[in-house]
């Protein structure tokens, strides 16, 4: 879509090349390099950074306290009970993983589709992925009754001659999430290698040169290297795409494979993936908007980026809406009493409120407003929307996990679920952890891929030929 339907007198068009302009004019190789490298190499750290990092760190410490107490006393400190044996832990797990997905999507899928505009945001989108996976991956480990035996989920030769049980979706999770984490980290690191080279060469301090030199592995920009590098990136992107789709599919299996009405649904895989991207882009916005302001990167992360992300959210939002619709439809069409009751209870049962929160945040507000380009390009509004959608997506998981469990097959064992302070501490704690990690990232790593930005500058044009996008 990048080079197609050129409209003249569109401010978004670069008259020189007739390309959609995703970077403000007047940037040169040196200027962008300067701008981005300075953030990392400057010896002075802005006070604001310390402020936010302090808050994030404090909240993360709360997480630490919660987890220590958890290990000492047991998962009973949470609200989980009979019949709702899964609670916040799993909700947060799914939520965080979902958020991670947008990062991979931006860096991989948009790379495959040669979406040039991705370049400015893909690096910290990927970072977001990794930190989200860190937060997510924590939950399955700590939510089990005997965390110190977690390694039993790995197939390793042991003196008991017993092995994991490969029919269990939880075991699939183990492989999906670990693969996802590994590939994301590799992809992220490989992407940064040339920039490390730049930082090595621009760093004044001996330590900086030394560290970035190590990280860059002696990158020197040989075109041979570049070609292999590009192939590898493309392949990784090509692999990450099915991966990211599979990961949330597998996570949706945790529910879809169960017999529980409200879980046992074939619509889950697509609907989970779409939901993941939906919330992921929301999170990217939540991060990008303050960042570009704070580091004056408006020239690199332009309104056009925000606008595009708005469009993606609109699209995925509608897929999600379709998912909700199908659930309701099937509840009626299946003529199964289990489904019908489950859905009635989901909407009007004692916990019906959560369903309506979800509908409001995920459908009512965003899907009505995101149509307008004016709103899509209004920074403050998009920030607001991103928060709303993230809330909505959290509640989606709450609805799926809790309202399906608390009233299932045998009415005699119907129960309820009331979160404890420990539940909240653990959840909020991960937000703090995420923030802290992310701030470390923006301080010490190039948050925007310089080499890829360079390719988009006018200077990179050789004669009439273009080197638009990252791919070619």
């Amino acid at each position: 879509m990048a080079t197609s339907e050129i409209k003249t007198n569109d401010p978004g068009i670069d008259p020189a090349t007739g390309e959609y302009r995703v970077i403000a004019p007047g940037q040169t190789f040196k200027s962008v390099t300067e701008k981005i490298a300075r953030i990392v190499l400057t010896p002075t750290t802005p006070l604001g950074w310390f402020a936010i990092f302090g808050i994030g760190g404090a909240v993360a410490t709360m997480l630490l306290v919660a987890v220590v107490w958890l290990f000492l006393t047991g998962v009973g400190i949470w609200a989980i009970t009979q019949p709702v044996a899964w609670g916040f832990a799993i909700i947060n797990f799914v939520w965080w993983i979902g958020i991670g997905h947008a990062g991979t999507l931006i860096s991989a899928i948009l790379l495959l589709f040669k979406q040039g505009w991705r370049n400015s945001i893909n690096r910290f989108a990927e970072a977001m992925t990794i930190f989200a996976v860190v937060c997510a991956g924590m939950f399955p480990l700590i939510h089990v009754g005997r965390p110190w035996l977690g390694y039993w989920l790995l197939p390793y030769p042991n003196t008991m001659n017993v092995w994991p049980q490969f029919r269990s979706p939880l075991l699939w999770d183990v492989f999906a999430v670990s693969t996802y984490a590994t590939i994301s980290v590799v992809f992220w690191y490989i992407g940064m290698v040339p920039d490390f080279g730049t930082l090595r060469d621009r760093s004044e301090s001996k330590l900086g040169q030394y560290v970035y030199g190590m990280l860059s592995m002696g990158w020197r920009g040989s075109v041979r290297h570049w070609m292999r590098y590009e192939t590898a990136s493309l392949l990784l992107a090509g692999l990450a795409t099915p991966l990211v789709l599979s990961v949330h599919t597998v996570i949706s299996f945790d529910f879809a494979v169960a017999v529980l009405p409200g879980w046992h649904t074939t619509i889950f895989p697509p609907y989970f993936v779409a939901g993941a991207i939906y919330s992921g882009f929301a999170m990217v916005l939540t991060l990008a908007i303050p960042l570009r302001k704070f580091y004056h990167l408006e020239g690199l992360v332009t309104e056009r980026h925000i606008d595009n992300m708005g469009k993606v959210m609109l699209a995925t939002g509608f897929i999600v809406a379709y998912g909700y619709g199908m659930e309701a439809f099937m509840a009626w069409y299946s003529a199964s009493h289990w489904e019908a009751f489950m859905f009635w209870n989901r909407m009007f049962g004692p916990m019906g409120w959560s369903y309506w929160v979800l509908i409001t945040c995920n459908l009512a507000i965003p899907l009505t407003t995101l149509w307008s380009r004016k709103l899509r390009t209004s920074i403050s509004f998009m920030f607001f929307i991103s928060i709303v959608v993230n809330t909505g997506m959290w509640f989606e998981r709450f609805v799926i996990v809790v309202t399906s469990l608390y009233r299932d097959f045998l009415p005699s064992s119907w129960g309820t679920y009331r979160a404890t302070k420990w539940d909240y501490m653990t959840y909020v704690g991960t937000l703090g952890l995420f923030t802290a990690l992310f701030l470390l990232f923006v301080r010490f790593l190039p948050m925007i891929p310089m080499s890829e930005i360079r390719m988009m500058l006018p200077g990179a044009k050789i004669k009439a030929k273009t080197a638009a996008g990252a791919g070619d």
Binding site: Y156, N158, T159, M160, N161, V162, Q209, G213
Partner: protein, 288 residues
């Protein structure tokens, strides 16, 4: 601008990459070995005991029967640790003032137990039953080793789950005639030492052994010497005394000759009605 790194750094960098890989592998291998090591399993270790009791001396030297001390081995899940009384049966007369036996005499005098340290210690969630093993043709030595050659008791085997399964998945390779259960020196049949067995039609309700009878001398020869005669016939051990009874049957039954453990094992599996490996390796067999 000059080099940051010295020439050697390239080699160093690559080496360290390889090394990291190797270390990870080595670590894995070490842990895998560690979990099987005596440090964890206590295999072969001789804990300090109040009295340096020698099975070698009592079994090999004096020819005491296993059940003289471990009386309930055929009836109960526990083989039974002998009460001080059992020691005093003899040691009231002999070695009455041996220093080594002071703790025994103290225990006898004070009525306080001798506190031994468990050598074959299974986790609490494992429910092992001696009687069924002994009644179905697993000899003491199969698990405990040549106790008659152990001056101080130690665990011959790891007693880890994989070790148990090893046999539960293929009992045939360890089965022996019930008449040979307590025979420490029993060795699998071979050309040099064949075994002759006969199986009457198993009468339901009767102990396994009564339907099967095995001898180590050719029964065709002059009057088969029953292997079971090696044992003192004791009413208590019905299952084993059974052999004698079976031998006393009027019509001399047909004996089959075995020269290898495989054949014998399969024969015994059939006639002792040993459950299938699938059943024997089912979780609830040992864990409740």
């Amino acid at each position: 601008m000059a080099q940051i790194f010295d020439r050697s750094s390239n080699a160093l960098a690559r080496a360290s990459l390889v090394l990291t890989g190797l270390i990870v592998i080595a670590l894995g291998v070490t842990l895998d070995q560690l979990q099987r090591s005596p440090w964890v399993t206590r295999q072969g270790q001789r804990p300090d005991q109040p009295v340096p009791f020698s099975h070698k001396h009592h079994v090999q030297g004096l020819g005491l029967q296993c059940q003289y001390c471990h009386v309930t081995v055929e009836r109960s899940s526990y083989a039974g640790i002998p009460p001080t009384k059992t020691c005093m049966n003899c040691h009231a007369q002999i070695w009455t003032n041996a220093q080594l036996l002071q703790p025994v005499r103290d225990s006898w005098a004070t009525g306080r137990s001798l506190v031994w340290t468990k050598v074959h210690d299974l986790p609490d969630y494992v429910y092992f039953n001696h009687s069924i093993h002994v009644n179905k043709g697993i000899g003491c030595a199969s698990c405990h080793g040549r106790v008659d050659q152990m001056p101080l008791m130690y665990a011959q085997n790891t007693l880890q789950m994989e070790w148990c399964l090893n046999c539960h998945r293929n009992p045939a390779k360890n089965l022996r005639p019930t008449s040979q259960i307590y025979n420490m020196a029993w060795e699998a049949p071979a050309e040099s030492r064949p075994v002759w067995c006969t199986a009457a039609d198993a009468q339901s309700g009767a102990p396994t052994a009564e339907s099967v009878n095995c001898v180590t001398k050719d029964p065709a020869g002059a009057g088969p010497e029953m292997a079971s005669l090696d044992l003192p016939a004791r009413g208590a051990a019905k299952g084993l005394a059974g052999d004698v009874a079976a031998a006393g049957l009027p019509a001399m039954p047909v004996y089959r000759k075995f020269t290898s453990q495989e054949e014998l094992g399969l024969f015994l599996v059939k006639h002792y009605k040993i459950r299938t490996p699938r059943e024997l390796s089912s979780c609830e067999v040992c864990h409740r």
